[in-house]
């Protein structure tokens, strides 16, 4: 993160932005994803930013279950 007053260095916001990116964005590997939803504290239901991440995790979980069947 940039050390400048304009950049928000609030830890919570940075973590939310980071998780939003790492869970919802980036290169997708079709058919080889092996992931499970474990720690529910990953998900902040009160924060809208994280809602899409919840959906993504659930989709990944379902996809894994389908692959395993």
């Amino acid at each position: 993160m940039i050390n400048d007053s304009v950049i928000d260095r609030s830890k919570d916001i940075t973590i939310l932005e980071l998780l939003d990116r790492v869970l919802n964005k980036g290169v997708i590997l079709t058919g080889d994803i092996v992931i499970s939803v474990a720690d529910i504290d990953l998900i902040y239901l009160g924060v809208k930013l994280m809602l899409s991440s919840v959906e993504t995790m659930e989709q990944l979980k379902s996809r894994r279950q389908r692959i395993e069947k």
Partner: protein, 251 residues
């Protein structure tokens, strides 16, 4: 043993081979990192010791930190958290199958950082301000006539009409802010993506990709915007690896 894939990078974009950097880094659960190389591209991987990978917050952060640190020295494409394959050989085959697409994507993000810009406000307060301003300027809002025999129906219609106009004003205001941001970004030759009115407080949620050397210009842009619009809160985050600018589905 399964392999967790962190990112794909351009191995020859830097004089140092990835191994030099990887020796000083630790992956998820302190696992050692290895580069699987195929021609000009590499995949950074680590062993997954547990049979089933656990997706928790700590692991997601550790995963992101590896990407962030490598992005300081290499042009890379971040993988989505949890991307795994069953062996290094499978990773190599995947690189071989997708070499052209990966190289093309890497070229698009070469020497670029991603930034996030959220424009936040108290929407109700903003609505009141815009309504008051419009009221004074043009008398555009319809006021119920005091003492007249307006029916309940008419009062309801007027209320809805005014609400609709207030909403239109907000949208128009948001568009004007967006135009301002886009003008700045055009000057910086940035590639941008944005969403409007994503929730009650966020009126603009933008991400943009621009040259690594233009960090100061981005900061100045946000400073300018903040000074012009004191009723809004501009939240800039970054620099990030180009998470929002990779649209790649590997087979």
């Amino acid at each position: 043993m399964d392999k967790l894939i962190y990112c794909l990078l351009l191995a020859k974009s830097n004089h140092a081979k990835p191994e030099t950097t990887l020796n000083s880094l630790k992956g998820v659960k302190e696992a050692g990192l290895v580069a699987v190389e195929y021609h000009n591209i590499s995949a950074i991987i680590s062993d997954v010791t547990e049979k089933q990978f656990i997706a928790n917050k700590q692991h997601a952060v550790e995963f992101a930190l590896v990407i962030d640190q490598l992005a300081q020295n290499y042009t890379l494409l971040p993988m989505r958290f949890g991307s795994m394959m069953d062996s290094a050989d499978s990773v190599m085959e995947m690189l071989e199958r997708n070499e052209v697409e990966i190289e093309d994507s890497l070229k698009k993000v070469k020497n670029k950082w991603e930034y996030g810009l959220k424009v936040l406000c108290d929407r109700e307060k903003l609505k009141e301000e815009l309504t008051a301003k419009k009221d004074n300027d043009t008398l555009n809002f319809v006021k119920p006539e005091i003492g007249s025999n307006n029916s309940v129906y008419k009062a309801y219609v007027l209320k809805k009409l005014n609400e609709h106009r207030a909403e239109e004003q907000i949208l128009s205001f948001v568009d004007s802010i967006l135009v301002e941001i886009k003008i700045y970004l055009q000057e910086l030759k940035a590639v941008d993506k944005y969403k409007k009115m994503t929730n009650e407080t966020t009126i603009i949620d933008a991400v943009f990709l621009l040259d690594k050397k233009k960090k100061k210009e981005v900061i100045n842009m946000v400073k300018d915007l903040q000074q012009k619009h004191l009723q809004l809160n501009f939240l800039l985050t970054g620099p990030w690896p180009p998470y929002n600018f990779v649209e790649l589905n590997l087979k």
